[in-house]
Symmetry: C2
Subunit: 372 residues, 2 copies
């Protein structure tokens, strides 16, 4: 049988969906000998032992069956407590919490449940690469606003019929944390336009200068996304949560019955233990790395000091794809191109979620590439 | 804030999506004292210890990071071997295998990737309840054909522009296994109409009289879905696989990057061990239960002898919802209504995935309900 792709008619909604450039970097890393890898979007430290052992316990207790669709009650309870205490969201109750299989599946539920064809969305830019892809899949229209916006800059959207406003803070790819004034103005815009305000807080704990606020702490209708993947180094175990008004949680739960059924049972039990785990020493290590990278690159690249997450977004003179090609060829250095995060070909993303040795070699290589 | 659902505008595609009647039964069971539960769609035995210990090992070895999108290579390899040996599918290679987070997420990928609005689908009836819901979500049009069809009955569809043909064999809810002549005629219809032929084989091992065939063994373009959930009692761990021609696997893998990212890492390692595990004693136990239920109910209900899975689909004189209400009230017996599986209100589904005691009490209650 000949197997050209043409033989297979795919649905229109997934045409143009590209294999992620990050995954390509991931695969490239497998083919190089001793590469310097600054492309990794996940922690380099292991998942803490107490969380691992909670998983072992759940397995040996036979916790392998379906859980309730919205998540095991103990985890929803623990999450609502976390939202109240750590995010200062006073109205967080277990009924407003949905446990999902990672943040990406939360996007799937949200965009699937909320976005009609032709609906307009506002995305803070640079943005996590999945947002525009989801908007594309479900036929929405995307507007962007720079993460450096002042409240007045939002005026242009006040009379639009926005359906979704979405941002990540701390940001992937820039590490920027939106300030309270910015968050307030986004909430005001959501309230005025009737848009759903989706706050992707997966990097909330990676907050190096104590600047992070949950928009949900002062805007009750906010849809807050929280993840376990990055904070506890359990990206492969697929666990996240959505906090939202109850009618939304109900609709998403129904949709989850037909998509993921439930988040992985054993991972849910690990999540309860994770919420009790102090990760501050890991964060302190990343803060030191953040400072090191900034101090050593700021004179070589136009770059904003990252406030959170574990990324820097460097401006470069070349096109990103050319620069990345040169970095691989000359230095064995793996980077992520900026075009997937912003409408410009002149940025690269680097990650400092790395061992010191790899990070130092990477920074040296970047300095050399800048002056070459 | 008032929170009527009306305040929240949901996307059209999920309007009319109902909370599953099975989940309702599940919740009802939690409220009754000492119920007889014949509604459960999952094995009553524990996941075998060697599989559990493979999970423990993976956890303690720190296998908590993202895996490759399509699954860990060792599992894809093991699955392709399984397809070749156990399903007699000679062209199964690792490149044709995608590892997903349970069969439901395989449906999500497939319907999302393949179905355009208005596309026509043929579903063998009674059908697994998710098929019509997915067709509804993505705006398709559903035709049905009885599972008792003769090849000639398919003539009416030969000139239709079908996009998807889907069935489960062994069937949930009837336990029917399609015979080779039926499978061949479905493959012929798929070939003629250009439809994707999706064979849901999640109950493949629950084949009590050695009647099961994979349609993929003689139709290379078949899309074969296999699960770990039911066979190894790991429904909550979320693992399944899709075998399909490579261009389809590539498209689905790209979509998986944006939806589930990867199946749970630890579960994937458990999957490798599961494929080495002999479950025949468990199947023998279910065969005995199948026989017991049939012998004890056949004179009380119009019912076909189940050949596989762990269900019987009983015809009743009352409306299903009325019968089920009476069963709960008079006997504390929990059943699943048939209307979610077939376009008729006169069936109920019972599951014999149960301890003997519960099963015997259930059968007695059903006999009493029939003559009351």
């Amino acid at each position: 049988m000949s197997q050209s792709t043409l033989e297979y008619a795919l649905a229109n909604r997934i045409r143009g969906l590209n294999s992620s450039a990050i995954r390509k970097a991931f695969e490239l890393a497998g083919t190089l000998k001793d590469p310097i890898n600054l492309s990794i979007g996940q922690p380099h430290f292991p998942c803490p032992e107490n969380i691992i052992e909670a998983g072992v316990k759940a397995l040996r207790e036979g916790k392998t069956a379906y859980t309730l669709t919205a998540g095991i009650p103990q985890l929803r309870e623990a999450l609502s407590l976390k939202y109240r205490k750590e995010n200062s969201i006073p109205y967080a109750t277990p009924e407003r919490v949905l446990v999902t299989s990672g943040i990406s599946s939360a996007f799937l539920l949200l965009f699937n449940a909320l976005l009609n064809e032709g609906d307009e969305c506002l995305v803070v830019s640079p943005y996590f690469l999945m947002y525009p892809e989801y908007i594309k899949i479900y036929g929405g229209k995307m507007h962007t606003i720079s993460e450096n916006f002042k409240p007045g800059d939002l005026a242009q959207f006040r009379d639009k019929r926005l359906k979704i406003i979405i941002f990540s803070s701390p940001s992937n790819p820039t590490g920027t944390i939106l300030n309270k004034e910015q968050l307030t103005s986004l909430a005001d815009l959501a309230e005025r336009t009737g848009a759903y305000l989706i706050s992707d807080e997966i990097y909330e704990k990676f907050d190096y200068d104590k600047q992070f606020h949950s928009v949900g702490s002062f805007y009750e209708k906010a849809i807050t996304l929280s993840g376990f993947s990055k904070t506890y180094s359990m990206t492969g175990l697929r666990l996240a949560s959505i906090l939202a008004p109850e009618p939304i949680i109900k609709a998403l739960t129904t949709l989850q019955q037909y998509t993921l059924v439930c988040a992985p049972s054993v991972t849910q039990w690990m999540g309860i233990e994770a919420l009790k785990t102090d990760m501050s020493s890991y964060i302190a290590d990343y803060r030191e790395k953040r400072d090191f990278v900034y101090e050593n690159l700021k004179d070589f690249y136009e770059v904003k000091k990252s406030q959170g997450a574990f990324y820097f977004f460097l401006k470069i003179k070349d096109r990103d794809e050319d620069f990345i090609g040169r970095a691989v060829k000359e230095k064995g250095l793996i980077l992520v191109p900026g075009y997937i995060f912003v409408d410009s070909p002149n940025y690269i993303r680097i990650s400092f979620a790395s061992e010191w040795d790899n990070l130092k070699r990477g920074v040296t290589a970047l300095r050399e590439l800048a002056v070459a």
